[in-house]
């Protein structure tokens, strides 16, 4: 059946080309974005820009306070969101297998789909309004709320990939369930859980909407977590909608810094979670 074989080979070649083409298109778009940001941003980038705070138009100024602010916001949200999210993931994968677990999973999935501006408004209502001022803490809480469902679901999926035989092996040695989870299951899934955490951090580091009514933004270096705080994304937003060319250039440079920051977080976490065994 030489004819059939020819059709099969032609089919295979066609599909291989098609998938390769799609990959090139998708990855190509990403590279064009990255290259464009680098091209536009690199011109305004210098040491003074990285450490200075914003100045009036024409006086230069920088994004030092926004970098510090963004890092602080990430730290606050990771400190709240990672432990909570990971615990929910462990519960869903290891403990809650009944109806309640199913309900929790459904709610977590729903939370993932909530637009981030809604989270921002919610935190505005429950923290900013009662305390009567914007604050870094409110911003951190808003970001943490976005993080929790993402971390919970990736943790659950990663834990489910751990073979059941490992759990049985540990149980058969007389390990109580909590020790099986802490000593065998979580370590086996640690690289995956860390990757999920990293993705969640990368995701929230690009969020602007939930910070608008919570952290608000500031033109000064942060002195307290109880005050409004600057962040790269809000700074980029404010500069981008301004009418000044100088601020537009600074917005591009700040975008480049933000992307480098996210890339840096990715590389550091990859390095820390290399598989040792």
């Amino acid at each position: 059946m030489a004819n059939y074989d020819q059709i099969r080979r032609a089919n295979s070649a066609f599909m291989t080309t098609l998938t390769a083409l799609c990959t090139v298109l998708a990855v190509g778009a990403l590279f064009i974005i990255l290259a464009h940001i680098a091209w536009q941003g690199i011109g305004s980038l210098n040491w003074q820009f990285l450490i200075d705070r914003p100045r009036p138009v024409g006086e230069g100024g920088g994004i030092g306070n926004a970098i510090v602010g963004s890092l602080l916001l990430l730290l606050i949200s990771a400190a709240i969101g990672l432990p909570l999210g990971i615990c929910v993931g462990v519960y869903l994968s290891e403990i809650g297998k009944g109806r309640f677990g199913g309900a929790v999973r459904f709610i977590v999935d729903t939370l993932t789909g909530i637009p981030s501006i809604v989270t921002g408004v919610f935190v505005y209502a429950i923290i900013v309004v009662p305390s009567k001022h914007f604050s870094a803490l409110a911003g951190g809480v808003a970001l943490a709320l976005i993080m929790i469902p993402i971390v919970a679901r990736t943790t659950e999926e990663m834990l489910k990939l751990v073979p059941h035989s490992l759990r049985e092996g540990a149980l058969a040695l007389g390990a109580p369930q909590w020790r099986v989870i802490l000593g065998v299951v979580i370590p086996a899934a640690a690289p995956g859980i860390a990757t999920g955490a990293m993705l969640a951090i990368a995701r929230i580091s690009g969020e602007t909407a939930p910070l608008l009514f919570t952290a608000f933004g500031s033109r000064f270096f942060p002195e307290s977590l109880n005050q409004p705080i600057a962040s790269l994304t809000v700074q980029i937003y404010n500069y981008a909608i301004s009418p000044y060319d100088e601020w537009h250039a600074q917005a591009w440079a700040a975008t480049l810094v933000l992307m480098t920051l996210v890339l840096g977080i990715n590389i550091i976490v990859r390095f820390l979670t290399r598989r040792k065994f």
Binding site: A172, L173, G174, A175, R179, A188, F277
Partner: protein, 274 residues
């Protein structure tokens, strides 16, 4: 299915058939039923397993021998929607009685699984795992001694003694299975359950594990599930034949393989079905 005319010859190692009728029952099972949801997997099983012998469970796939093995350390507890009826006692203590400490039970009744399941940790940490979680010892020199002894008992020490800190996953399949045996032996259980421990291994690794089982019965009561009848004949003192969730016959291994009491057993042994 082709009907075999000549029964395969199965040799019984004479030393493996030491008389054991006089030793007392380590494990006694009375009228055990087991259900997965509404499906009954085990029907009214009663059997006694004497101390310090090797008991083999044979039977075709799906006959319930692994399920039965797992009732002996309550490993089936972790499978949802299962139900047990009847009694299983170890040293005259009913392990399904309310208030039984399952963790303590599993410490006394060790288990080796069909597929080797080393933890993604170092060789040393794998063997030390059971000792650490059960707080067997706080001195690191004693811990090292127990790990070394367990690896020697599992005939693995000479192969791994220079790389205890490397990953257990770097070992070969046969070595991984012996590591799992060492891990089970390290906490010195009284009963060792083995669920087809050699089914995924080559003949050389299999013979090593069989020799090991032969040595281990001096100290442990061993229950082994096997698909391989020659293996049952080689390593066990007593053999139980299961079919469709029922215990058909339990007898001295020599008798099962030469002159079984039940016609069904003989049909299975001689390869007429299964």
């Amino acid at each position: 299915m082709p009907v075999q005319t000549a029964a395969p010859r199965i040799e019984v190692r004479p030393a493996a058939t030491t008389p054991t009728a006089t030793s007392k029952a380590k494990v006694a099972v009375r009228n055990l039923d087991f259900f997965y949801g509404r499906t009954q997997a085990l029907h009214d099983i009663s059997i006694e397993i004497p101390e310090r012998i090797v008991m083999a469970f044979i039977g075709p796939s799906g006959c319930g021998k692994s399920t039965f093995l797992r009732t002996l350390n309550r490993m089936n507890d972790v499978i949802p929607h299962t139900r047990v009826g009847g009694h299983v006692s170890i040293d005259d203590h009913d392990i399904y009685a309310p208030g039984t400490d399952v963790v303590e039970l599993r410490r006394r009744v060790g288990m080796v699984f069909q597929k080797s399941n080393p933890f993604p940790k170092s060789i040393f940490d794998n063997v030390a795992y059971g000792l650490r979680i059960n707080r067997v010892t706080s001195s690191s020199s004693e811990l090292e001694g127990r790990v070394e002894q367990a690896l020697k008992d599992a005939a693995l020490w000479t192969e791994v003694k220079d790389r205890l800190k490397t990953s257990a996953l770097s070992l070969s399949g046969g070595q991984q299975q012996r590591l799992c045996i060492a891990r089970a032996l390290a906490i010195r259980p009284e009963v060792l359950l083995m669920d087809e421990p050699a089914s995924a291994l080559d003949p050389i690794a299999t013979s090593k594990i069989e020799e090991l089982i032969f040595d281990l019965k001096k100290q442990y009561t061993i229950v082994i599930v096997t698909h391989n009848m020659q293996q049952a004949a080689r390593v066990s003192d007593r053999t139980a034949f299961f079919l469709l969730g029922k215990l058909i016959e339990v007898n001295a291994t020599e008798k099962i393989f030469t002159a079984p009491d039940e016609k069904t057993t003989e049909d299975y042994i001689t390869g007429r079905f299964g």
